[in-house]
């Protein structure tokens, strides 16, 4: 196993957004406009509010898309608000969004960016 050092990212958070199927692209686009680099999207099946809305529940799709985005903590509020707005999450049945703090994250960092970060530290 390699024992090379890695550069870990602290001050990062995970935004998870659950929306009706077909809405994820709009929400991801809104997140990117706010500064997010990318997103991971997968399918799920929801239960809860649909059963409580009665006849109006037919307008709430059971099939869901779950969006995960890792963002820096200084961007998280802006990305969160953009996603909330784009997904119309203030409307009953449209979805749910939450933030989870991360201890750390790691990914490939190009040497040029790594050099800039090290320069900024010194």
């Amino acid at each position: 196993m390699s024992q090379h050092e890695i550069t870990v990212l602290t001050d990062v958070a995970l935004i998870t957004c659950i929306v009706q199927r077909g809405v994820a692209d709009d929400v991801v686009r809104a997140a990117q406009e706010a500064g997010a680099e990318g997103a991971t999207v997968y399918f799920g099946k929801g239960s809860g509010i649909r059963e409580r809305l009665g006849i109006l529940g037919v307008a709430v799709d059971v099939e869901k898309e779950v969006i995960n985005i890792v963002v820096a903590t200084d961007q998280v509020d802006r990305v969160f608000e953009n996603m909330h707005q784009a997904g119309k999450l203030d409307t009953p049945g449209m979805g749910f969004i939450y933030i989870t703090p991360l201890e750390k994250a790691a990914t490939y960092i190009p040497p040029s960016i790594l050099a800039k970060l090290q320069q900024a530290e010194t």
Partner: protein
């Protein structure tokens, strides 16, 4: 007293997660791992074009580890799963309640 546990999540290329689950079992005797598929959207992905960026198939690997082994497993997955290479994915860790 129950030991604190952490959740390590990796976003990897499609087809990688199953191999990593086997390696976790072999190396650390960890069986608390699961994986599923997802769609990745990113401007920094290769061949990204205008708009949201390229969409690629991903594997998501989730593994629950104890606090003692968290650091070792994190480093192991970072190197073995190819996350230390360009467009290799991302790995992150969070505390479980």
């Amino acid at each position: 007293m129950k030991q604190a546990e952490k959740l390590i999540t990796c976003i990897l290329h499609r087809g990688t997660a199953i191999d990593m689950q086997a390696k976790l079992k072999e190396e650390f005797d960890i069986e608390r791992a699961c994986s599923h598929h997802a769609r990745g959207v990113g401007k920094s992905a290769p061949l990204a074009r205008r708009g949201m960026g390229e969409q690629t198939e991903k594997d998501i690997l989730n593994v629950v580890v104890t606090e003692d082994e968290a650091e070792t497993v994190f480093l192991f997955l970072y190197h073995e799963a190819g996350i230390d290479r360009p467009h290799g994915g991302i790995i992150y860790m969070q505390q479980l309640g």
